[in-house]
Amino acid sequence: MNIAVYTLSALLVPFLLIGFVQKAKAQLQNRVGASVLQPFFNIFKLFGKNQIISEDSSGLFRAGILVNFCCFAYLIWSVPWLSFSPAISSVDIFLFVYLLATARFFSILSALDTGSPFGAFAGSREATLSFLVEPAMILSLVAPSILTGSSSLERIFSFTHQVSSQNPIVWIFAGISLFLVALTDLSRMPVDDPTTHLELTMVHEAMTIEASGRNLALSEIGYAFKLAMFFGLSVQCLLHGIAFCLPSDQWILLAMSIAGIFSLGLLLALLETVLVKLKWTKCPDFIAYSLTMGLFACIAALGVRA
Amino acid sequence: MTQEVLILSSFLIPLLGAIVCVFFQSSRYSGKIAAGSCLLTFVFLSISLFPFLSDFKNVILLPLGLRCEKLQALFLLLTSLVVTLALMQSDIYFEKELKQENTNQKHIAWFYFFSLLFLLSMMFVFVCDNLGALWISIEATSLLSAGLVYFSRSKHAVEATWKYLIICSVGIAFALLGTIFIFSSSQYGAIEGGSLYASQLKAVSENLQPLLLKLGFIFCLVGYGTKAGVFPLHSWLPDAHSEAPAPASAMLSASLLNCALYAIYRILDLTTNSACGKSCHEVCLWAGVITVIAAALFLVKQHGLKRLWAYSSIENVGLMMVAIGFGSAPIFFLQALNHSIVKVSLFCTAGNIIQLFGTKEISHINGLLRRSPLDAVLLLAGAMAVTGTPPFGTFISEWMLLSLSFERRYILVAVLIFIALTIAFVAVSYHVGRTLVGGKIELLSDTVSIKNSVIPSLLILASVALCFLIRPDILGVLK
């Protein structure tokens, strides 16, 4: 049952979410925009295309992209980003963070493999961002784990806790923090603008600049998975925050999770319409907000336990 | 009876050797004669003293009021061994000096003459029971060793000799005054008419006049301390050690300092049971600690290779002073033994290196490891040994000293010594390290021959062996 739910959602939700965000953004900017299904088409198109590989690159270029993809594929099945317990359930918060790091490590390496200055700068910035964002990420995960007394993601996000652990403040702060973390980690708007071209995009797009055809498709799928997973996790946090007034039926919760993910997508579209991109040196200031939220969550959680 | 005869005849051998050396001034064999007679002395002493050491008997009485206890016996053996080795090395050393025409056969013969008499006077230091005779012997050692320092007759050598002679004579004069004080301290009821015999004084030491005894000790400390190189009386020592030819420096450092320290030990021993005993011991102890620290700091900035070893001798003298201050003869002897062995090796190696590079300045000695690897290793090992690093014998003796100071609750002493030893280690390894590396890779035909390094390497091995062979029952002999 769980496997079916997760497989289906993993195949649909991430791409729909990306399409939805693009569509919503277009609508908000008074454009027609591409279809919500456009990401599916893109992926298929890319799989059919010829791949160009730099003469300077070694085998690591493709292997890195592959590892990156595999990490996300593993995570999308094993992280409870929907209200169901996941298909493969052996991931705890640290393994989660370190799998993300693994994915990142290999994507940086494959970006650098071609010797391209673009990829290198993007890689450098990706490393910097990860260094800034990981404490916030771990804090926002540690906070609920303190509440629930477990480090396993599955147990943290299952809806069967006692009332004492249903502390709205902790969950909501953690959720907000995770959302901000997601914005940074996925290089979305205040940190980076994914829609601009080359010289202006700094992180994700510049890292995949040398990838084409199948390689690009794999990294785009990975990106979509990551987006869905992060939004899913923050939605789970927020849902736990209001768990006291929620029904306990799994399917309703699933529907609410998916609705939540898309509403975060809407929020993202709104943000990307309203905000301007931050100067690179100001990014740490922005990330500080998510760190603060995470700290709040942790302190609140410690307070609840004490 | 034969024992006494053997010992006395071992005193005659150096004398005869010296006379022979002077008679055959221009002979090439003077070195061999000198080394041979030293070796003979050593053999005679060993034959006569080894049974005694394992004996239950405490003392050998010799004619003319001379006597020899176990500590003295050990020092006699050590001194004759050191001089033997140094003279064996000097035969090789001078061979090269002659080749470079730095000296001539006649000077060398006189050198051997002086060193044999020097050995004789040092041997007398250990068998004199009479404090006056002790003083005479020590003064004789400085007069005779002046001849060794003077050897090269260069400006520097003359200067060093002058300073050595004057400062030591003045210092020793104080020791004479101290001896007189001790003599007169015995006249106040202890011994009718007074006595200068240490064994007699020791027997009545509770009855010695405390003030005079204390003054006597202080004057002797200053006097013999000058000879031993206690800070700040050490000023002659680096000059003399660095200007004398390498084997002579080895003798000065490895045996002469022991003599002076032994004299201090002898005097301090008299005070043990008297009222002023504790304060005298403390003076000695702290003098040692200050010497160790000062020597370590002196080592930090040095420019001459032999000056370096001279200061490290001062450091070791400080350690021995601490051992003397604790009244521990075994540790004093052990430290002296270890230090002497390593120092002979170091000075001989330094002599080889200085001959090779033609300079004493550390900054001009470069790339030794490439040019003469064996000497480099010897220098390094010696440097490690002299700073009390395992696995060399000095480590064990220093360790025993430190654990003794912990036992006696002088923790500050131990801490200060530790700090000083650390500084000394860093300083010495810095200087030695500079000589080992660097330099241009040039192919020079001129290297140190293996022959030159036999004695130093054997001594380094001996030092390693000493680390693993010190058993408590061996030290028990001295208690």
């Binding site: 990981e134 | 304060s279 900035k301 360790w399």
Partner: protein, 618 residues
């Protein structure tokens, strides 16, 4: 020829050593040498217990790889250097074994100093220049200070327990605070913990790569062995002692990684990363002490096992990386990242093995490095759940610190791998690099195998450690399922997607249509780490000196020179002045020796008068 013989002997000795250590886990031995060998105050005694056996497995395992790797590494050295190298390293390995198995303090100190001296000689053995001599000297001095503290501690302990035997010492007791502290700080220095880590980069940088591997892999662990062996502070009730461990551990974790990030030399990066790892181990030991004081036995055993396991893992992967740096140095003639690049195609074997080591260093799952870090994280998280609020807050902070350090190590290693192996070569020398010899590959391969095996069987190994150390049991998390899955997953995807060569073409890297990219246009190590380094600029004293010159220089400069420098605050503000102070003192005292005989006579007189007055007054 004899070089191969020696290494063969070492190989056999290592195998025997491994067998001996494994057998001694089951049956500990005690062996005392009798007449005539004696060390003045104590006999020569060898003794094994579980900890020393565990450590000796690491030692002999690494020496096994060392014996295979080194002969080829030394292929083009002259006889003199070979002699120095082999005598030094045999002595080094033997003395480390001696340290591990010595039964009393004196023998321990002797072996310990031989270990330091032989390794110092090895440090200087590769390039006999003033710089290596300096590195060796710094290392020697640091290690001597450590020895001094240890020796003082041993003397104190002997004074307290009236024995030199380690088995008679109970340093965990309250009354043994001073010796325990002295020994601990000695160990901190030798282990290269912040703020005593300054010797580490100097020594490892100058040492030949295989030796650096052994030093970092085993020798740095010896002080930790001593701490574990004597179990300092175990029964003490003060919280401030473990907090020392925790604080210093956390700071060195961060500090090591920050400095590793800005280095441009491969060996220095590895050196700083071992500062980080030692910090991590100390942190685990500190947490072990904390949980002992909180009386949480299973958590305490978790931390101890984590510390030991991490130490093991670090030994393996760090030696692997150092060995790899050796093969890079041998073939590309430099370990400076600015001179490397594009080696992946030239040295594929080394590259692959290096990548294994890198993954372990960055603690990426499923490597062994990840697992031990994971244990620490899990333990800290459980500490958060403990009753003490201060401990809980600290643990949260420590988790953050570890995560940050992890991210930093990721950035660092991404830089290292990419600048060394990927892209184009930066110099002509590196361009002609070829793959290293098979022996070297095998030497590294053994270690890489260990990395994988330790990662794969991490949970059973930890359970085994718990069993042989007789600790309280806990349930370690398992990576096995994940590993199998990930391997499977990658395999399937690889086979099904990427083995289709027809639709790909080779072309040059995209360059905005500007013309061909030159090798100088690639990212360089400084610029890669600049964004993070800029964040830590006060700590690093990170400065960029830029100079623009030429006519009308604002828009069309002829020459632009930019140079970034980093220097440790600690080094420039604390250690250098300290050394200067001693040097100045030495200089001043040398003035006493002014050469004038009058002054000397004056000293004589003054000393005499001083002593007389002093004694008469008393």
């Amino acid at each position: 020829m004899w070089c191969f013989l020696t290494s063969g002997m070492l190989f056999i000795a290592s195998i025997l050593g491994i067998i001996l250590s494994i057998s001694s886990i089951a049956a500990p031995f005690h062996y005392s040498l009798q007449f005539p060998i004696y060390l003045g105050l104590a006999p020569v005694e060898f003794e094994s217990d579980t900890t020393s056996s565990i450590f000796s497995i690491l030692l002999f395992g690494l020496s096994l790889a060392f014996s295979i790797f080194s002969p080829s590494y030394l292929a083009n050295k002259n006889a003199n250097e070979l002699r120095l190298f082999w005598s030094g390293s045999l002595l080094f390995i033997a003395s480390m074994a001696g340290v591990l198995f010595s039964g009393n303090a004196i023998l321990f100190l002797i072996c310990w100093e031989i270990m330091s001296l032989s390794s110092a000689a090895l440090v200087a053995s590769e390039l006999l220049t003033k710089n290596t001599a300096k590195a060796s000297l710094i290392y020697l001095s640091a290690t001597r200070v450590a020895t001094t503290l240890l020796a003082l501690g041993f003397l104190c302990a002997n004074n307290l327990f009236h024995s030199w035997n380690f088995s008679d010492w109970h340093l965990m007791r309250q009354e043994a605070l001073i010796p325990a502290l002295l020994i601990t700080f000695g160990c901190f220095i030798k282990a290269g913990l912040w703020p005593f880590h300054l010797w580490v980069p100097y020594a490892y940088f100058a040492a030949p790569a295989p030796v650096a591997g052994l030093m970092s892999g085993v020798m740095k662990k010896i002080p930790i062995f001593l701490l574990v062996h004597l179990l300092c502070f175990r029964e003490m009730a003060d919280f401030w002692i473990p907090s020392f461990f925790l604080a210093l551990g956390a700071i060195s974790t961060l500090w090591g990684m920050i400095f590793a990030l800005v280095q441009t030399d491969l060996k220095k990066i590895l050196a700083y990363s071992s500062v980080e790892n030692v910090g991590l181990i100390m942190l685990a030991l500190g947490a072990h002490l904390v949980s002992l004081q909180l009386h949480v036995a299973n958590l305490a055993s978790l931390f101890l096992v984590a510390a030991i396991f991490h130490l093991f893992n670090h030994g393996v992967f760090k030696s692997l990386l150092f060995f790899a740096s050796g093969s890079i140095y041998q073939n590309a003639h430099s370990t400076n990242l600015n001179n490397l690049g594009g080696l992946a195609k030239r040295m594929p074997g080394t590259f692959l093995l290096f990548l294994f080591g890198t993954m372990a260093l960055c603690s990426l799952p499923p490597s062994n490095g990840f697992y031990s870090k994971w244990l620490i994280y899990e333990g800290l998280l459980q500490l958060v759940n403990s009753s003490n609020i201060a401990v809980a807050v600290c643990s949260v902070l420590l988790i953050c610190v570890l995560i940050i350090a992890g991210a930093l190590s990721l950035a660092t290693m991404a830089k290292v791998v990419s600048v060394t192996f990927l892209g184009r070569t930066r110099t002509k020398l590196a361009q002609n690099a070829t793959e290293c010899s098979e022996f070297m590959i095998v030497g590294q391969g053994i270690l890489a195998c260990f990395c994988v095996l330790l990662g794969l069987f991490s949970a059973p190994i930890c359970l085994y450690l718990v069993q042989i150390l007789k600790l309280a049991s806990f349930t370690p998390p398992s990576l096995f399922q994940f590993t199998i899955f990930s391997v499977f997953c990658i395999g399937i995807v690889y086979v099904s997607f990427l083995k289709q060569p027809k639709k790909s073409s080779i072309y040059s890297t995209w360059e905005c249509g500007f013309g061909n990219l030159t090798r100088r246009m690639q990212v360089n190590p400084e610029s890669f780490s600049q964004p993070i380094a800029a964040l830590f600029s006060p700590l690093l004293r990170y400065r960029i000196k830029a100079e623009v010159s030429g006519k009308d220089r604002r828009h069309f400069p002829e020459k632009v020179v930019a140079e970034s420098t980093t220097q440790s605050v600690l080094e420039s503000k604390i250690y250098t002045p300290l050394v200067q102070a001693v040097a100045v003192l030495g200089k001043h005292i040398n003035r006493l020796q002014a050469g004038s005989i009058h002054i000397y006579l004056f000293y004589l007189l003054i000393t005499l008068l001083l002593l007389v007055v002093l004694e008469l007054v008393r």
